[in-house]
Subunit: 97 residues, 2 copies
DNA sequence: ATAACATATGAACAATTATTCATATGTTCA
DNA sequence: TGAACATATGAATAATTGTTCATATGTTAT
């Protein structure tokens, strides 16, 4: 895999890593590691403002890292992709070595 | 792997992803995928200022993604870690799917 | 229809960061 | 020693971004 991807792909790639490059978003993703959670549950778990969580969930959704399901008044978010866990664990390997 | 790491680790993890979250740094890393290169070679390959490359190499070095070797006037950089390729390829998988 | 609740959104602000320019440091060779 | 070259560094600037506050949208039950 020695060929540099096209610039356009590189920008997308950088954007994906940018999404992982924020501790709030990482915490949200970890909250969703096992199960779906509503926005309120996530906010309470992390002791952060509902608005902050909602904004960041939008970033995660735009980048296809989480998906959502509406159930009545609540909206439940869950991981959208198996890559998510793998990418995080790869990064963790690097950090912990 | 359902346990959320300590906050301190999460910050470090976010920092690592932040490093990958910039297209210039990704391009530099790709330039080093196969072989070491001097700062000047990298700058010329990417058609970017020597100073820009040097600044970003420092970021990469601080985060242990590249290492360096001096040879005369030139300094040759190379990937420091097998994780680097793997993390990038994981991200690329996500982008390309 | 209206109240109560859950979530999303827009504007504003503070903080971070990538790049450039100018210059400093370090190395080689005459 | 001094000139030429390679790389690093500091300051300045422009752009991006995370959070908060206030409010809008959407849903349920009465």
């Amino acid at each position: 895999m020695n060929n540099m991807p096209k610039l356009e792909i590189l920008f997308e790639l950088a954007d994906v890593f940018k999404v992982f490059g924020d501790s709030t978003r990482l915490r949200i993703l970890y909250t969703l590691f096992d199960d779906e959670r509503s926005v309120g549950e996530i906010a309470e778990t992390l002791s952060m403002e509902q608005s902050t969580i909602s904004h960041q969930l939008r970033v995660l959704r735009t980048n296809k890292l989480v998906k959502l399901r509406r159930d009545g008044k609540q909206i439940y978010y869950s991981l959208d992709d198996d890559h998510v866990k793998k990418i995080i664990e790869m990064g963790l390997d690097h950090v912990l070595e």
